[in-house]
Amino acid sequence: MPDVQPKPQRKTDIGPPHYEKFLPPIIKQNYGKWKYHEIVKPGVMVTVSETGAKLYTVRAGSPRLLSIDKIRAYADLADKYSNGYLRFTSRNNVEFLVTDESKIDPLISDLRALGHPVGGMGNSISSIVHTQGWVHCHSAATDASGVVKSVMDELVEYFTDMKLPGKLRIALACCLNMCGAVHCSDIAILGIHRRPPKVERDKLKAMCEIPSVVSACPTAAVRPATIDGVPSVEVIEERCMFCANCYTVCPAMKLNDPLNDGVSIWVGGKVSNARSEPMFSKLAIPFLPNNPPRWPEVTDAVRNLVEVWAKNARKYERMGEWINRIGWPRFFELTGIPFQKEHIDDFKHAGLTFKRSVHLTH
């Protein structure tokens, strides 16, 4: 027999660990048996089982971008207060799963001391779902974390309290790719480009397939062209709406432009089916400048939207439901946002968004 060491087996396709490994005993015992839940106070919820068992959830906000030091600090808090069990939410909050009611308040104090406000439940603003921005993305038209931090610093009182008429969900995507799927949020902050791609011919020849660059354009603004005898593409500028899809498939179609990139604000989307059906967000403000590090124009605009809605909406009414009740003319009047050409759709099926009745308030 030749002396061959068997290669260690390389593990692949094992999938994630089974979730049961990480469920606290109270959840295993009451899985599928929960009877009701209610919010005890901001950021604290009790879930009560048919068996009478009570699970307390304490929710804290997070910047999503976490160092391992912070995750270890969360782990220490979980050991101290929730038998080592914790989870994260779809909006990047951290939740501690507490069974001993007397540990709730000390946990809240420790979280606050760590710099993480407790809240985000019920009629509040929960954490902003967002993308990577300048921290990690090649196509970002704005930063993500910095805008989110600036907006939440401004609105944190609505996270830690429940004084709003209904839920308010804010999301940010740093370009139209919308990794954060912001298109159904009460308020969406969306990074936008405003200039067509600049074709870098040498790079294009080396890195890109011309047919896929051409077919990437939803408005047929990119077409094949031979320039100085070399196959390339040209951009019909008046057809370009700056979506950057060509740039996604071809790095030689760069749109990033510090002078013209910025932020647009969208309102009135929702995903829940409660009362009204899910809705897309609609354009409220076509352009605000990138003004790092604090984006004051964006924070002012978001605060205005939140406060006008909070003042005028009925109980439970989400941003979109409120606007549907009062109508868009009144929305623009109350918020003081000027209505302009960019608000009117001119993409496919735009006619469906025109007002096709005389149901108007005068």
Binding site: K11, T12, I14, G15, P16, P17, H18, Y19, F22, Y31, G32, W34, Y36, H37, T47, T57, R64, L65, S67, I68, D69, K70, I71, R72, A75, A78, Y85, L86, R87, T89, S90, V94, P117, V135, H136, C137, H138, S139, D143, S145, K149, D153, V156, F159, A173, L176, M178, C179, A181, A216, P251, N256, D261, V271, N273, R275, N290, R294, Y316, K348
Partner: protein, 400 residues
């Protein structure tokens, strides 16, 4: 250890304020890690110049996988050599994002050794994200992750990491076991998840009830949303408690019902369950008194996506009601047919929602063998541009 402490006057502004600061997180990692330190430097540059400094990824990953790693390179590698490579690893999260302190510490130890020490808890699709490392660190990180029982998630034109709400683990409204189905689908589609072979990405999202806490209807190609088809469960004594405690049941509950299927006479809440559209509002408002019915399952919707390429779409109804219990045979067969038709006929970078728009929902249904039903449309077509496929021939006997 980082060689120098960077001056970051713009980012320092974002350490102030009450909301937790990502700059503090990066700085905390940068104290010990050269990659995080160069990230801080490059980000400050972006804040000065108002532009990002990352280049497109190339093909980068672990052996035998086509997804799970997002290649990223600095366009200022001379100035920030430690982020010349700064790849993201997507790690498939446990369903429902439940963890123990023990496993989180072990994940941190791996990332301390092999990467920037920065993470996202979690990425938009649901993965635990390890943010930033070098190409040569990918395989060793992967080895340690699999030894701990973790695997990479999806990226590119593959099945993306499925995700779900916490479902039956902590919510009485879960109409099916979202975490069990998420785990099942993740395991069933391991090959499709790790080896991109579709026209474009495919996302599954599981929400236990129509409140849709994971936004399935807005961002998943297949949105599986719990619902029920019998009567809302009512605890009359608990309704009386809400009324006694000062809730205006007429105004807060009845007047907000989109189906107008409720009446309140001050004592009894009458519900016309035949007319109920399962919106959840009354149940949300009175969780102690009302609950979804007992005949529970899910509605399957198809086709949601963000704007790129042809515009954003919400998912629309494909199967109005389905029971979802292991071994999920009916669901797997349905998904199999859809994948087959879409893979065969979809164009490069065409999500299934856009594919349906192009070929027509009617043709799509025919191809996957699902009968059209009125639940699938908001209303029938308004235009007369019908592609009639059946007609009579002059000599045919069966004309009427």
């Amino acid at each position: 250890m980082p060689d120098k402490k960077r001056k970051t006057p713009k980012l320092d502004e974002l350490e102030k304020g009450e909301w937790p600061s990502f700059v503090k997180e990066i700085k905390s990692a940068a104290d010990k890690n050269a990659m995080a330190n160069d990230l801080l430097g490059q980000l400050e540059r972006s804040y000065e110049e108002k532009i990002g400094h990352w280049k497109h990824g190339g093909i980068v990953g672990v052996l035998g996988y086509g997804g799970g790693v997002i290649g990223r390179y600095s366009d200022l590698p001379e100035e920030f050599p430690n982020v010349s490579h700064f790849h993201t690893m997507r790690i498939n999260q446990p369903a429902g994002w439940f963890y123990t302190s023990d496993v989180l510490r072990k994940l941190c130890d791996i990332w301390e050794k092999h990467g920037s020490g920065l993470t996202n808890m979690h990425g938009s699709t649901g993965d635990l994200v390890f943010l930033g490392t070098r190409t040569e660190e990918l395989e060793p990180t992967f080895k340690e992750l699999t030894d701990l029982g973790f695997d990479l998630g999806g990226s590119g034109s593959d099945v993306r990491t499925p995700s779900c709400c916490c479902g039956m683990a902590r919510c009485e409204w879960a109409c099916y076991d979202t975490m069990a189905l998420t785990y099942f689908l993740t395991m069933h589609y391991q090959d499709e998840l790790h080896r991109p072979a579709f026209p474009y990405k495919w996302k599954f999202k599981m929400s236990g009830c129509p409140n849709d806490c994971v936004a399935a209807i807005a961002r998943s190609d297949m949105s599986i949303i719990g619902t029920w088809r019998d009567d809302i469960q009512v605890d009359e004594a608990a309704i009386a408690e809400y009324a006694k405690a000062g809730m205006d049941i007429q105004k807060d509950v009845v007047a907000n019902c989109p189906a107008r299927c409720m009446e309140w006479d001050g004592k009894k809440l009458k519900i016309d369950n035949k007319a109920c559209v399962k919106c959840m509002h009354c149940i949300n408002a009175m969780p102690k008194a009302l609950a979804p019915g007992k005949d529970r399952g899910a509605c399957i919707l198809i086709g949601a996506k963000a704007p790129i390429v042809e515009g954003a779409l919400l998912s629309s109804v494909l199967i109005p009601f389905i029971k979802l219990e292991p071994p999920y045979t009916e669901l797997i067969e349905l998904v199999g047919k859809i994948h087959e038709v879409w893979s065969e006929n979809g164009k490069n970078r065409e999500r299934v929602g856009e594919f349906i728009q192009r070929v027509g929902m009617g043709n799509f249904l025919e191809a996957i063998g699902v009968e059209p039903t009125p639940e699938m449309v908001a209303h029938p077509r308004e235009n007369p541009y019908v592609f009639y496929e059946e007609y009579f021939e002059e000599d045919s006997e069966d004309k009427s």
